[in-house]
């Protein structure tokens, strides 16, 4: 419901660059956005267009839409043509720095000439490479891809979503999302049976990406209670999604561990009579409503805790997860999933061991899912040569009610 297929003003947007890197930009009308060595573009030029198209920045700053199979992969897919013959050998290739007859300065000069497109520059660079035609298809491919990443002035706006947010944080600082891969996030969402209307108890140390993913899957219905260890939870990632604040306020409630385990320690904010409220100063009245609402929210959360009111427990935390499970399990409803994510298998193993001993959890299992991407170019299909290590692990169990009579006789 907060997905818009067209590029909207004043929203955040992911911009994919030829280097396969992502950049997050905020699209403020009338501004110019620089994407580093790839040039810059006018925000207004892309507003209202659909996401997903690739634009090339022209010499006059205008944007041309690239058509895949025509303009795109000029060299790489174009390899179907004469340029790259896979059975060629590089028997006579002598590839030294002298093979390139263009100097760095000359290339820099070309880059400054606004009349030359990235493709033109690459053409020049190839022509300047004495030994290019002697390279094997594979080294040509690699060489061209490197040059493309360097010279093509192209970019692709993509809409913000939990998957891209993961990519973004994984690249920036993977600790901020506990090294969670997209496939592990996806698995977590399915194992936790996340859907509209659910009420989830969540511990989210992924800067809010996990909460963002839940929001995507819940479409405005249900409740996310975020338990945390500081004064406020860190859900920074949410700001990148184009999600109304009202929706966030309604669906996401936070509670710290002290409030969770010692609700009696919170000072009550008693209800005031209409007369009392009417007699308050406007400033104090606002403060009263804020505090009173916060108090009611906490009571609501504590009611859910006391009445096994949650439809699932979802933990992605560096605070000892085994204790968190042990001490919050009572709040989870019967037959609901308990899912704990960690960067480390050792941590989920400990949680699983605890669950094995705890009759309140059925059949804990540790899961690992790893996606392997392929270079998907006909004639030269192979898995990506490198990929991120890590990705994390999760343990999944089902909350059950042990029957003491039964277990006594077993």
């Amino acid at each position: 419901i907060f997905d818009n297929p067209r590029i909207q003003p004043n929203t955040y947007c992911m911009v994919k660059l030829p280097s396969e890197n992502f950049r997050v930009v905020k699209l403020i009308p009338n501004q110019t956005i620089s994407i580093g060595k790839f040039g810059s573009f006018q925000v207004n030029d892309i507003l209202g267009l659909p996401y997903g198209y690739t634009f090339e920045i022209q010499e006059d700053k205008r944007l041309r839409i690239i058509q895949e199979g025509v303009d795109d992969h000029d060299y790489v897919v174009g390899a179907k043509g004469a340029l790259l013959e896979p059975e060629e050998t590089n028997q006579t290739l002598i590839d030294t720095s002298e093979s390139q007859t263009l100097s760095m300065a000359e290339i820099e000069e070309m880059k400054k000439q606004k009349t030359l497109s990235g493709k033109d520059i690459i053409d020049h660079v190839i022509k300047g490479h004495n030994e290019f035609h002697k390279k094997t298809a594979f080294s040509k491919e690699k060489y061209l891809r490197r040059k493309e990443q360097k010279y093509l002035r192209r970019f692709t706006p993509q809409p913000m979503c939990s998957s891209l947010l993961l990519d973004f944080y994984l690249e920036k600082d993977y600790k901020k999302v506990l090294d969670m891969s997209q496939e592990m996030l996806a698995l977590l969402l399915s194992m936790a049976n996340v859907r509209p209307g659910g009420k989830y108890l969540v511990v989210d140390e992924t800067t809010g990406v996990l909460t963002a993913a839940l929001m995507e899957r819940m479409a405005g219905e249900g409740l996310i209670v975020v338990a945390h260890e500081n004064e406020h939870p860190n859900l920074d990632a949410l700001k990148y999604l184009s999600m109304p604040t009202e929706l966030q306020d309604r669906m996401i409630k936070s509670i710290n561990w002290l409030q969770f385990f010692e609700p009696e320690g919170e000072e009550e904010v008693p209800e005031k009579t209409p007369e009392q409220i009417a007699s308050m100063k406007p400033r104090n009245r606002g403060a009263y409503f804020r505090k009173r609402n916060r108090w009611l929210e906490l009571q609501n959360v504590n009611d859910l805790v006391a009445n096994q009111g949650f439809d699932g427990l979802i933990v992605a935390s560096t605070l000892h997860p085994a204790s968190i499970v042990d001490r919050t399990l009572h709040a989870i409803g019967g037959s609901r999933p308990v899912v704990v994510y960690s960067e480390y298998k050792e941590v989920v193993t400990e949680v699983s061991q605890l669950m094995l001993k705890d009759l309140r959890v059925l059949a804990p299992s540790i899961w690992e899912s790893r996606v392997r991407k392929y270079q998907t170019i006909l004639g030269r299909m192979h898995p990506s040569m490198t990929s991120r290590g890590g990705g994390g692990y999760l343990v999944h169990g089902t909350r059950v009610f042990p029957n003491e009579e039964v277990n006594a006789t077993q």
Binding site: R217, R336, P337
Partner: protein, 364 residues
């Protein structure tokens, strides 16, 4: 059932009777007369009150757990699990195809209908799932099951989509996500153009076991104008946590010392006995044999036995030291299928471009 949790089990409800990880049976509750018979005992439906309960059998000899169905657990309860899309694949497909509440999804074929449950859950009541199956018997079974499970957002269709396409009379399908689990997806791909929503990005996933199928599908996708074509594989492993006994080197040395000492004592005794025997004329060979037997008994489990050899030790027994380890399942699914993803970008109106095929220059 599949669109919200219940706490109390009522007549007509679906319960998964969980015996073991590999023995999970669906039960439709009939409180009056229903009886769930298993090798763990008999369980009258009238005792089934609460989801999550551990229920003892009538004879108190065994128990089951009463589990609320979810698409994932339902998958585990299916008798024939060779044709299903496993959760590690299905969850990734849902995420990549951006199946969200309100999405319109095409699935072909329906198969066992297990993935349909997952898509239906994620598309929510505001979404739609058009599920096509060419095998009539399977279509009928699935249709009945969807009705029983109240998957009201699923529209099953009996159809050979490869030949006859995806159009449904009087309905504007307008899907944004497509899942093709077909032997020849390339024959179905050209038909998609008519049923996807061309005002937004549409996404497809072809699920094919063989490499050669993927190659043909890539060609078909390229020809049909799909972009961002990417093949991936999902590799999944399941692990169990275990405790392994920690056996220390010092204990091993102490044990060897003990064995040696007892052997030497035995030897001394034996020598003394040989002396006696020689004097009494008893054959040495016989005595050797007897000694061998005796020393075997002695060096058995009577001496220093730090790790309870020969005893039945329960994992985690507090008399011993343990290391927490994880053990991979014995047999892993090393391949399910290749997942081929692609996107179809929305149609652009002509007003977007200027004469150079550039985006129309901005004007206030």
């Amino acid at each position: 059932m599949f669109s919200a949790y219940k706490d109390t089990i009522e007549d007509g409800d679906l319960v998964l009777g969980w015996m073991t990880r590999t023995a999970i049976k669906p039960i439709v509750v009939e409180k009056k007369e229903g009886l769930f018979n298993t090798r763990y005992g008999a369980f009258p439906h009238r005792n089934m009150d609460k989801y999550g309960a551990q229920l003892g059998s009538m004879s108190k000899q065994g128990f089951i757990h009463l589990i609320h169905p979810t698409p994932e657990l339902w998958t585990l309860s299916l008798p024939h699990r060779t044709q299903i899309v496993y959760t590690t694949d299905s969850s990734y497909i849902v995420q990549r195809l951006k199946i969200r509440p309100g999405s319109t999804v095409i699935e072909s074929g329906t198969g066992s209908g297990s993935f349909t449950h997952a898509i239906s859950r994620s598309a929510g009541l505001a979404g739609k799932v058009y599920s096509y199956e060419f095998h009539e018997e399977r279509y009928n079974l699935a249709k009945q099951e969807f009705e029983r499970h109240q998957l009201t957002n699923v529209i099953p269709t009996h159809r050979d989509v490869c030949n006859d396409g995806f159009d449904i009379e009087n309905i504007d399908v307008n899907a944004t996500a497509v899942f093709l689990d077909l032997p020849a997806p390339w024959t179905a791909i050209p038909h998609l153009e008519r049923v996807i929503d061309r005002s937004v990005v549409s996404r497809v996933c072809c699920f094919s076991p063989c490499f050669e199928q993927v190659v043909k599908a890539v060609q078909a996708l390229q020809e049909a104008g799909w972009v961002d074509i990417e093949m991936v594989e999902v590799a999944a492993k399941r692990w169990e946590s275990r405790l392994e006994m920690k056996r220390s080197l010092d204990e091993a040395i102490t044990r060897l010392r003990d064995v040696k000492a007892r052997r030497e004592t035995g030897l001394a005794k034996r020598n003394a006995r040989i002396k006696v025997e020689t004097e009494t004329g008893v054959e040495e060979e016989e005595s050797d044999e007897r000694d061998a037997k005796r020393s075997k008994t002695e060096s058995g489990h009577r001496g220093y036995n730090p790790w309870g050899k020969g005893q039945k030790i329960k994992e985690g027994d507090e008399s011993f030291e343990w290391t927490e380890v994880s053990k991979c399942e014995q047999e892993i699914k090393s391949h399910t299928s290749y997942l081929l993803f692609a996107s179809r970008l929305p149609k652009l109106g002509e007003e977007v471009f200027d004469k150079d095929m550039c985006v129309r220059p901005y004007s206030e």
